[in-house]
Each structure stands twice: as structure tokens, then as C-alpha cells.
Amino acid sequence: MTLEPATPVENALEVEDVHVQLGDTRVLRGVNLQVPRGRIVAVIGPNGCGKTTLLRCLLGLQKVDRGEIRLFGKPIGPEVLARVGYVPQRLQVDPSFSLSVREFLALRRRETRFWFWQTHRATDAHLRETLAELDAVHLLDRPLAGLSGGQLQRVLIAYSLLGRPEILVLDEPTAGVDTPGEHSFYELIASIHRRLGLTVVLVSHDLGMVFRHAAWVYALNGVVCCEGPPEEVLDAESLKAAYGIHVAPYHHHHHAGHPHAHPVVAPPGQSVPIAFRKR
């Protein structure tokens, strides 16, 4: 039985058999994933399973020992990175650094080069507009180092959006965001995704969020031990495969209709997206 996707979907990101060893730890042991354009794809997994390492590979921050990664069909380089927005898991800004949010955001705009962040009216309007979307205009003249975790995350997202990215890579974007804040935070990312048609790759421990917003989920544990639409991956058995211990599944009502409602390009060598690919 083969089930070809109706229309071939172009992949924003392709990861093929990626191996990474850090020190003595073989962190990634043959990871494969495909992210179609315009999707929200979540990567889940226990602490230390290599999620951050995988994202660092996508961004050319970590050399891969074996395997291949392509963004928009091209190998990672400055040219494709210009189309990427990245929000790191944590960013420590030294308190002795006086950079203001306005100056930080202005760094992302080309016209501020050579101008010592002299804010032109157009640039200023643009910064305000982007911050307004993220509910953070009031932070414009605050020092970057004085922001709380959640405020910093918003500013970092604003920073990546100012580069007009085609793909947004977020590493646990809600680390340091309180629970109600967390909820609205993902709503925010989802609405930005809808409006701009961005591809989003995010790491999250929040299975509820993954269930609500992600189109496809990869459960990582050195390898991709399980992938599929959230309603399939987030059940007890596949979570057990991913986390190695019993995790309460995310409760949800079953949708009528096809589990594979999303056109997804199959991994190489397989014609059907496989939901429960256990080790």
C-alpha cells in the first residue's frame, strides 16, 4: 500500500543520517528529518537527548561528523542562514553591557550599518511595529541585560522577525516564561506563523502546546525514535519509546478522519510517513 502525497511539497529543511559526537557522548546517531515549507514542526525528547545539538547543527554552529543537512535545498552557509531566524534556548547578556533593546533590534537592519544606530524614522516605525506584534513596545528603550526571561524571548523573536526569515528555529522558547505567559506565547508564534507563512522548527517540553500547534512531531532520543502527527506521537506507547519511561500521554479527543491529514514528504526509502518508527 503506497500513499503518495497529492502534490510534492518542497522541503524547507532536510536532515539526512546526521551523526554528532561531543566528547565521549555519541549525541546524534543517525537523525533523519524533513520539514516541509510553511509547517510548524516540533522536536520533543528528554533532557540531554540532543535537541539543542540538532538545532545547532541546522544553524552551522556544530559540525556534523557524518550525514548531510540542507536548508532550502542548499548546504548550510551564510547565504541560507540569511533566511533563518534563530531564538536560542538561553542568552546571557552581561549586565555591564549597556545595549538597549532599540539598538539590539537595529543591528538586524542593514540600513543601520555605519550609522551608529541612528534611528531613522522609518527604522524606528518598523521596530515599533514588530515589537507591538509581540506585545513588547514598552521594552524599546530598556537595556537588554535588564529584561526578564520572557521579555528577552519576545525581543529575540522580534529580532529574528526583523530579518524577514523564511524559517524560524526556536529552542524551548518558553524557558523562563510563566504558565499563562507560555500559553499566549505559543498563540503568538502560531499567529505569526499563520500570517507570514513561516516554517517553524521548535523544541518544546510542553506537550499540550505541541498537540495544539504542531503539524508534525519528531521524538528524539539520539535518533528519531518516533514521528508523526501529534495525536499519534503523543500517546503513551510512543512517548515511552521516546522518553524510555512511562509518561502520561497528552489527553485529547480523537479527531474523526485521517490521521495523516497533512501532506508530508516521506523519509528517503519510504513512501509512507511512518508514525511509530521505534528503534
Partner: protein
């Protein structure tokens, strides 16, 4: 013309201060933001090996050997940082103490130079030559061009290296360039302020400016100005008082720092008490 300016050595020293002070102040903003104060300290101390080695090899003026040895040490530090699992702090402590030990031993073998040790440690205004002033002017020009040409990438680099990489900054070359500029600046500052005190010229203006600045632009401008005021003020004040230049410069900078500390504390107190105190 004030009478101290009729002395050629004072002219040279004042010019050196006017060039080096602002340069240290400007770079100091990035040095402090990147927690590289100890790096500056390490480079400064390696100058002792440069001085001793220079004399041993037969140089009359230690400036060139000092610049060379400091650059070698800076590159060694960057290399060790990339190729070992050691903490940067540890690497620097090892390099600092080894280069001081090497310098002291090499000087001990040259008894006529050993007597001048304190001049290298605490600076000697008489030792600043016209060549030193010229080299400082050239390095200052390069620093100004690089800092303003690469201001955005340098700022991003100081914020977060990963973010800078993803934003298209070529992190490694820029890092090396920045470290080498700091190294050259510190090595030149050694002639004026001395090995032990030169870090004050890099760190204190930036730290002082931090107390007044509310954004990076103000921080850079103020840091540069304070470097200028502190360094040239120290040279000018030292003359009538007959104080050694190095310590005078450092104390001038420290006095400005205390003012900034008081100011920023007062500002914070004002900001944190929104309610006016009721009058009796």
C-alpha cells in the same frame, strides 16, 4: 603655552595619552562586555617577557618586541581556548604567571636592565619615544576604522556569538581581529602606564561610563571621552605634583569611577522610590 609643554618628553607623553586614552576607553566597552578584563591583564604581563627578550636579543627600544610577544601570547590563548577543554580563566592564569616568571628570569640575566624593572611595571613617562607615539597613532587609526566599520558585527559578537553567527557575522576572523587590536592597544599602553596598571586604562573608563550611559551609543562615546580625560588629565596633573604618571592616571580614572558609582546609586535610589517622602 603652559611650561610643562616645553619639555619634549612631556609633549610625547601627552600625545601618547591623548591617543591611547580614548582608544582604550572605546575598546574597553567591548572588553568589559565580553568579560575580557583578565585577558587584558594577561597580555599586559606578557609584555615583561617582551621587554626582557627584546633587550636580550639586542633591541634598544622594547616596543617592537613587546608588541610581538603580546600578539604571540594572544594567539596562543585563542588557540588553547579552541583546542582544549580548559576554562579561559585557567588558560590565562597559566599564561600570565609563566610569562611573568620568564620575563623576571630573563631580566635577572641582564643586571644593568634589572634596575629598570619598576619602570616597566609602573610606567615611565621618560621612556615614551616619538616612535612609540607614531606606532600608537597608526594603531589608533586602525582601531577607529575597524570599530566603526564593524560596529554592528562587533556589537552582536559581544551580545551572543551564536546569534552573531546565524546573523551572518564571520565570528572567528572578527574575534581574532578584535583580540589582536586589544592586544596591540594594551601593549602600547604598557609604555605609558606600566604593566601592572595598564588594565585600569582599559577597564575603568568603560566601567565609569556604564554608570552614566543608558544605551550603548552613550556608553561608547562616554567611555572614549573618559579615557581621554583620565589619561591626559593624569599626565598633566602628575607634572606639577611630581607624581609618577602611571599611578596618577590610574587614580584620576578611579576618582571619576567613584563619582559615577555615587551618581548611579543615587539614580537607582530615585528610581526605586516612586512615592515622595511626606514632609513633616
Amino acid at each position: 603655552m603652559p611650561d610643562f609643554l616645553s619639555e619634549p618628553y612631556m609633549q610625547r607623553a601627552l600625545l601618547a595619552a591623548i591617543i591611547l586614552g580614548p582608544m582604550c576607553g572605546l575598546l574597553g566597552v567591548f572588553v568589559t562586555a565580553r568579560r575580557m578584563a583578565f585577558f587584558s591583564e594577561t597580555i599586559a604581563h606578557s609584555a615583561l617577557t617582551g621587554v626582557a627578550l627584546g633587550f636580550l636579543v639586542g633591541f634598544d627600544e622594547p616596543t617592537l618586541p613587546v608588541l610581538l610577544v603580546c600578539c604571540v601570547l594572544a594567539v596562543a590563548m585563542l588557540w588553547l581556548k579552541e583546542h582544549s577543554a580548559l576554562l579561559t580563566d585557567t588558560i590565562m592564569a597559566v599564561l600570565l604567571s609563566s610569562s611573568v616568571a620568564t620575563g623576571v628570569l630573563l631580566l635577572k640575566f641582564q643586571p644593568n636592565r634589572w634596575a629598570d624593572l619598576d619602570k616597566y611595571l609602573f610606567g615611565d613617562i621618560l621612556s615614551v619615544s616619538w616612535d612609540d607615539v607614531r606606532i600608537a597613532a597608526v594603531v589608533a587609526l586602525v582601531v577607529v576604522i575597524v570599530v566603526f566599520r564593524y560596529l554592528n558585527p562587533l556589537t552582536l559578537l559581544a551580545t551572543n556569538e551564536d546569534l552573531a553567527h546565524v546573523s551572518g557575522v564571520r565570528v572567528r576572523p572578527l574575534n581574532y581581529a578584535f583580540v589582536l587590536l586589544v592586544t596591540l592597544t594594551v601593549a602600547l599602553g604598557v609604555r605609558l602606564v606600566g604593566i601592572v596598571l595598564v588594565t585600569s586604562l582599559v577597564v575603568i573608563p568603560a566601567a565609569t561610563a556604564r554608570g552614566f550611559a543608558t544605551n550603548l551609543r552613550q556608553h561608547l562615546v562616554l567611555g572614549t571621552l573618559l579615557g581621554l580625560v583620565g589619561a591626559s588629565g593624569g599626565v598633566v596633573l602628575g607634572y606639577p605634583l611630581d607624581f609618577p604618571t602611571g599611578p596618577t592616571i590610574t587614580l584620576t580614572l578611579a576618582a571619576l569611577f567613584v563619582v559615577s558609582l555615587v551618581y548611579s546609586r543615587a539614580r537607582r535610589r530615585r528610581a526605586s522610590s516612586p512615592l515622595p517622602v511626606p514632609q513633616p
